[in-house]
Amino acid sequence: MELYLYIALFAPLVGSLYSSLFARSPKSQQVGIIASGLLFTSFVSSTILLTYVMGGHTVHTEMMTWIATGDLYIPFGFVVDQVSVVMMMVVTIVSTVVHVYSIGYMDHDKGFNRFFAWLSAFVFSMMVLVMSDNFAGLFIGWEGVGLCSWGLIGFWYHKESATWAANEAFIMNRIADLGMLIGIFLVYWNVGSLQYDVVFSEIGNLQPVIITWIGIFLFIGAMGKSAQFPLHTWLADAMEGPTPVSALIHAATMVTAGVYLVVRANPIYDLIPNVGIFIASLGAFVALFAASMALVNRDMKRIIAYSTLSQLGYMFVAAGLGAYWVALFHLMAHAFFKALLFLGAGNVMHAMHDELDPFKMGGLRKVMKGTFVMMTLASVALAGIYPFAGFFSKDLILEVGFVEHHYVIYTVLLLTAGLTAFYSFRLVALIFHGEERYKLFGIHPHEAYKFMLVAMSPLLVLAIIAGSFKMTYFQLVMNLLPATQYHVHDHTTFWIMTIGTQLFVIAAILFAYKKYSNWSSVPDGSSAMEKSFFYKLLWNQYYIPKMYEEIFAKPYAELSRIAWKQIDLKIVDATVDAIANGIYKTGENTRDIQNGNLSTMLRWMVVGLVVLSILAVAFTVGYNVVGA
């Protein structure tokens, strides 16, 4: 089995290295095909591992030593257990689909080969992240995906906004990574090891306050990767990258790494329910917060990005409340339909020549049938309509909130579910229904390549049926995660809740359709709604990016300039130069003593004599006083 483990892990790396060999050459189709093929190999190996793990086994292997010094021992160790195998499946499935899709999507791009090098490298990092058997290995993957995300967001490096967004993402993630790093340090100095099995078996022996700190710092790391408030701004900006990147990294896999971390570290978080509550509350807040921003946005990809953010909030609610398997399940289901949504959006973008404003589209249903169906179904899944995947995972989170008696969280999540349905279908309605507003801009949309649609179809299927795996999945992960069933015991309440939620969501969908399916004009900022305070607030993302710019970025730049021009050059360096100049000046001035006039010299000699005598007296007297 270890062979499959290594194949699953290193096939993407091989693909990446192979592609990077051609990074300089003009586009060649085979690069994409080989990279995709290798990804598929990885997927197949993961599937084999899945069946193996379902048999009740786990694979744990240690490739070689990485860092060993003092008491610290960090190997390149990999583990395939019930949790990581689920992640591996998600990652390999989505990335295989995205790879194949990208062959079509990046067809006309100069950096075709380079794109695959980055993309496969990302998959490799993600695999390291999920398969590692220790925190340091996790951190490798953690930073690795950050790097690839940087490279892919800034893939079109000639675009100022893209490179800016890439840097923003990297730096924001770095802030969180610091928290993660501190968490790792805490674990090491208190447990003496970074191996999951050792840490989790000994974590109970620590003082509660230390466990709390560990939990907090690790979660700070998770907040950055999963773009939780207040480190969320990078995710929306990250949409500057090519759309397959958004689908793979910023929807399905990388951003869920934070959730994975919390799920993986469940023995730690089990011991600190207070932190769990905080996580859940933050998650609920982010769910609503992000959904509200998605309501008014006019950038197709950003809307989906906010939706991702919102769903990540859901996952954190589940994880924070101790329902780790629910979080992981929603992670999986979300990966499928969100990736599908993004890839659909990619098709639309292609068709619309990179136009992103859904108000400038409309009526695309006729030209892009396949995409239309897929995006609609993905949105339905996202909204959580029975029997799509979202229903099983998302409603379960609502139930978790209810069962755990966190009614505020429950209410917030319920409200958010409505908002989600609304903005998802606002998008669908604006893009595919109504008048063909794009004609005003002289665009002639066309459907994407057939094989791209075919490539997307596995995601479609999974988005529809993923819910039916629920019990199998539960059986699988209960080996590793707390196997709590979240059932509303009272049947009446259960049915009221379920049906009520469904009705609420459907009402939201219908409202969205009603409002937007016959939209005819492109808003120009003149309508009353667009002038209202709330609209502006949401439109400007609560002014948070602006605030960050004003509070952090600009002062930092200004402070840096001051540090250089004022402090470094004018104080530190000037002091040094002043000392040097002082010595030099002393020389210049005392030159006059050497004016060659002997009687002046004699006089100085007398002065010297007197000074020396005074010194001698002082020392002698001092010596006698002290000595006596």
């Binding site: 009687s599 007398v606 007197v610 005598s613 001698a616 007296v617 000595g627 006596a628």
Partner: protein, 192 residues
């Protein structure tokens, strides 16, 4: 009592003589006063039991050194008043007194604390000259020889420096000729 009288007498005389040496504007007065002062100083040496040193003081200083100065002065115009340009006498005085006080303190302080021990104690049964000779030719032999060599060097140096062109009489020569005596050097001033 005798010692005290002698000390105060000679002290007063020495101070007066040296003050004249320093203050007078006549070179001859200065020379004479100093020679007298030297002799008075030798009296202190006798008082202190350093007979040999006293004799040396008279012979070497008053005999040799003063004679040398006297010869030296023949070269210069000694009849003329020595004109000193104004320096601030107050500063001079204050500095000098200060220095003196310091020196006194330096010398007295260790004695007060009784830190000094005799390395070569004066033996009571032998005379000063003998004792001096014993120490000088045993412990201080090398410095003594060095001093001898130094004196020799000084002597030769003095002769060479002063004795150059002794065959020419500077007093009888004209100023231009004096100026031309040193080849390679430009005389800076045209005499007096």
């Amino acid at each position: 009592m005798f010692e005290a009288i002698a000390f105060y007498l000679f002290a007063a005389l020495t101070i007066v003589m040296f003050t004249i040496t320093v203050m007078t504007s006549q070179a001859l007065y200065a020379l004479t006063a100093m020679a007298a002062g030297m002799i008075f100083i030798s009296a202190f040496f006798f008082l202190l039991g350093a007979d040999f040193l006293g004799v040396i003081q008279i012979i070497v200083y008053t005999g040799a050194v003063m004679a040398l100065y006297a010869f030296g002065m023949m070269f210069f115009d000694t009849t003329r008043n020595v004109v000193e340009k104004g320096t601030n006498p107050q500063i001079v005085f204050v500095l000098g007194v200060l220095a003196a006080v310091m020196v006194v303190t330096i010398f007295v302080a260790p004695i007060v604390s009784n830190n000094i021990q005799a390395l070569y104690p004066i033996q009571e049964n032998i005379g000063n000259s003998q004792a001096v000779g014993m120490v000088l030719f045993t412990k201080y032999l090398v410095p003594f020889e060095l001093a001898a060599v130094m004196l020799l060097v000084a002597m030769i140096g003095g002769i060479v420096l002063a004795g150059k062109k002794m065959d020419k009489s500077l007093t009888l020569m004209k100023e231009e000729e004096i100026g031309g005596l040193d080849e390679g050097f430009e005389p800076e001033a045209g005499g007096h």
